[in-house]
Symmetry: C2
Subunit: 283 residues, 2 copies
């Protein structure tokens, strides 16, 4: 982790006056090469810009959000950089790593695993909160004091839990269709059991509703968009649990139920501008 | 071709207040099942809306533009439907059909082939100009008197040649990075030889510059965006040939060279709004 960091450029393409890059580096946290996307708005040519992290959902790589969300247009207007990490280590070779869409590759759940063998490389929490910010801060003109975070589904869970645990590091927080309580849904129970073991007491540190109960949130309002035609709404996402936790602790939550929208990037694209303008108010 | 047409819905998803659909039907022209994307803006709930055809480039299916271009936001605002056909027949089983990215599958070049075996199903010109409009007109609330066309690369060639040959059917015309003279570039020479045979006289009917020389264009100005960092600019695209042909015939061309942009969907997304607002003026 010490010494100069090496960053390989996969591609840099002009987009809305800025540049959409894809980069690769050897990660000490995950023990493998990791890719991430970074959009730099045109304002980055003249000085440091605020930075917004996007955490993606199950099965995604860094590419999905970069090509499908239409984020660059508004980010270029507002002068915000957008960082998009991958969703797990890749190719570590653990038994069963590629067997399911909701565990292992593409499903890191933004935790630091404690169960073998996952604890060696499935350290997406530390990767996203420490290693990647240090690398981006060293290599790109971003302002480490003006950072926000958002994400979708598993990545909405990631954004919520990461910001709630690190309120000094993230000035703004929003999510699309987040898994708000992985302790209380099948996706989350499978992942937390696999990565953290059977002791549910340890899961509370990666459950947004439990974190709100334990710590509250002194930051600005939390913005959440949720489609009411989302096929995962009742079984996995359960936004009412977040509403209840926020209400109990006096946390300001702007939960917007969107009629007829599903879980896809067509939904995300439809409201991405709202989220960027929300973050820009606080960054 | 007679009798009621059967249309299968693959998916319909809410997007920017409208719906992004993907549909499949058995095509008489191509002899196989064809898929297309159709975005209907919210205005289509109240009556017929204008329709803009997008023709995609080499290797694309109907999906690329639908998920990457960010077109739905502006189309929803302006009340324009967007139809996106596939770029070739699929799975006809002709020898060599899947051997190259620039001929056969994904590379129909919007011609009606005359060479065997391609002449049986590689009839994308008739598919795009006749069969698909008849189907869409029967099944969806679009106004057949308010239709425009645009496309990218091979699809820019398709949009130009189709509109130039059918000026009564298309009220507006634009392109991104079009192949403006397939008779004079390697991609085009390969495709036209394969689909039409070695007699170059027959090629002129599918060459935008030759069509402008032969027929002119009485419609509104033609809008073309072209990145100056496009790796295919000098060898394949040659926008100067279009500029020369238009100048010689007094055709109004707005050719915008875009500094630093390449051939990708990041380029298309950056200027898609300009193109939709251009088409909206004439539709």
């Amino acid at each position: 982790m010490s010494g100069p960091k090496i960053l390989e450029t996969i591609s840099v393409q002009k987009c809305f006056g800025g540049t959409q890059g894809v980069y690769r580096h050897e990660s000490a946290e995950t023990g493998c090469a990791m890719r991430f996307g970074l959009f730099l708005p045109p304002q980055a040519e003249r000085g440091k810009v605020p930075l917004l992290y996007w955490l993606s959902g199950l099965t995604c790589t860094e590419e999905n959000f970069v090509v499908k969300a239409g984020v660059q247009r508004v980010a270029a207007e507002l002068g915000i950089a957008i960082a998009v990490p991958d969703t797990s280590p890749r190719g570590l070779g653990y038994p069963g790593e590629d067997d399911a869409y909701d565990f292992g590759s593409g499903a890191g759940f933004y935790v630091d695993a404690t169960e073998a063998p996952w604890h060696h490389g499935y350290r997406m929490y530390s990767y996203v909160t420490k290693e990647l910010p240090a690398l981006i801060g060293e290599k790109f003109p971003v302002d480490p004091a003006r950072v926000g975070i958002f994400g979708h589904s598993m990545g909405g869970h990631g954004a919520l839990t990461i910001a709630l645990k690190n309120p000094a590091s993230y000035k703004s927080l929003s999510a699309f269709s987040p898994i708000v309580s992985p302790m209380r849904c099948p996706w989350g129970e499978k992942a937390l059991t696999g990565y953290l073991g059977a002791d549910r007491a340890t899961w509370r540190d990666y459950d947004a509703t439990a974190l709100i109960e334990a710590r509250g949130w002194q930051g600005p309002p939390i913005l959440v968009d949720q489609g009411d035609a989302d096929p995962f709404l009742e079984r996995e996402l359960k936004p009412e649990l977040l509403r209840e936790a926020c209400a109990a602790k006096g946390v300001s939550l702007d939960l917007r139920m969107r009629e007829g929208y599903d879980h896809s990037y067509f939904f995300i694209a439809s409201f991405i501008e709202d989220h960027l303008r929300f973050h820009a108010k606080y960054l």
